[in-house]
Symmetry: C2
Subunit: 235 residues, 2 copies
DNA sequence: TGAATTATTTAGTCAAGGCTAAACTTTAGT
DNA sequence: ACTAAAGTTTAGCCTTGACTAAATAATTCA
């Protein structure tokens, strides 16, 4: 479904869309991915057919909601790998782009979420560019993840709620969950995304409905300090 | 030159060659890479033309020296990534094969050598299979690397010499190098592979000829403990 | 407004890597 | 030794993602 080539085009379109206006031209995309306008035109037709872009012939292209989400995921992978290469493997900031350009295409949600946790949920890549979160949006305030999307086998701490309404907060009380609760995702069930979680305090294992998991922000239980790097212009 | 497909075929041939006899059949390769004998036959012709295998039509194929080296490099990457996924990201031993199957195709010598060092030069992957070293051969005794192939910016310790002859040992004396000397590779010069190294003790920077760097075994200065995992049959 | 310029698409081709069906070797069994 | 079975290659076709050259649309400018 998502080939390396398609992913590179979508990421290029996202970049151009963020920089310039909202419609991006065939030629500019061709330049970005280092191919010809003819090849790009063919690709844009395909991206349009598959619902990743809205393509008005002769008038460029715009990412659909779906396409935007996919492109943000690729950007997330790219920047997390860059962070890893610099922060853990000791590469210089100017040596990592090409390698990340390949690593970004390894497609495994579990891999990238675990890498994210391993790195301490960094907010900025080595070039000072923001790293999208698991929800496909840039991290706003603090490093945090929806419990519904957090990796398994890692001790987490509840740092916030998406829905602060009374009914939900009351329900959390029933479940024994509050801010600061430490827990680990033991199992994620494919059927509906419900979770088996274990509370760190009591060692008790409990089932959690997706409606709850989708409304809880969590963070790694002992986060690493966040390191900020100098800025540059590339991805 | 080396596409993902070619790499997968070469690795499959290496596996079959290690398991069974030295010539491996078209059908067995087809099975291993999950394609058809017809497609495999075409690929084997190509691998033969490019000098990676010796192909006798109707009588199977054998890796050339060159092909064997390439396949061992792929195996090295595969197993190092598996080790990383289990040891650092907390995956289970039975969750990592598919992901490593993709990661192994990210081709950067510097990346894989740094990853190796980061992991403490592990000898066995999470399945108990040996991890080839940077020289394309299985690691014999201890985790060690040729200085000529060691990553930069990492403190190393000299743990052995490849050539134990008197002239070389005397030359080491002149250079101020002996077993236990701790040093860091500052720069590797593309021209002939000579190195700028810095001695940890004296902070002194010195040039080292490739003829020396190729004869010194080094290890990470503070190696992590080596963890041994249960055995299984897959890669 | 009517070229001239620029941007984009279409047409035609190619290489890599798959596939199925058919032909052809090799091997095994009697 | 000859034939049946099994293994391998060849022939013909397909998809993806490139390319160049030519046609067509959009834009700019006199
Ligand atoms: Mn890329
Ligand atoms: Mn970047
Ligand atoms: Mn693979
Ligand atoms: Mn393995």
């Amino acid at each position: 479904m998502l080939t390396v080539s398609v992913e590179n085009y979508l990421k290029a379109i996202l970049h151009l869309q963020v920089e310039g206006g909202d419609r991006v031209s065939t030629t500019s995309i061709a330049k970005k991915v280092a191919s010809t306008p003819a090849s790009t035109s063919a690709m844009l037709t395909k991206l349009g057919e598959r619902g990743w872009v809205e393509h008005r012939p002769y008038h460029g292209v715009r990412l659909t909601t779906k396409g935007h989400r996919v492109a943000m995921d690729i950007l997330r992978r790219h920047r997390l790998w860059e962070y890893f290469l610099v922060d853990r493997l000791g590469f210089e900031w100017d040596e990592v782009h090409e390698i990340a350009e390949e690593l970004e295409h390894v497609d495994s949600k579990e891999l990238i979420n675990r890498l994210d946790a391993f790195l301490g949920f960094p907010k900025l890549d080595p070039h000072g560019d923001p790293i999208p979160g698991p929800n496909g949006r840039f991290r706003s305030v603090a490093a945090r993840t929806l419990l519904a999307e957090a990796p398994r086998n890692l001790e987490l701490v509840v740092v916030g709620v998406v829905d602060g309404g009374d009914p939900f907060l009351r329900h959390l009380g029933v479940l024994g969950v509050q801010l600061g609760t430490r827990l680990t995702v033991m199992e994620r069930h494919a059927f509906d995304g419900s979770l088996h979680i274990k509370f760190a305090e009591t060692e008790e294992v409990q089932m959690l409905a997706p409606s709850v998991a989708e409304r809880l922000w969590v963070d790694q239980s002992n986060p690493s300090p966040i390191i900020v790097f100098p800025e540059t212009e590339d991805a």
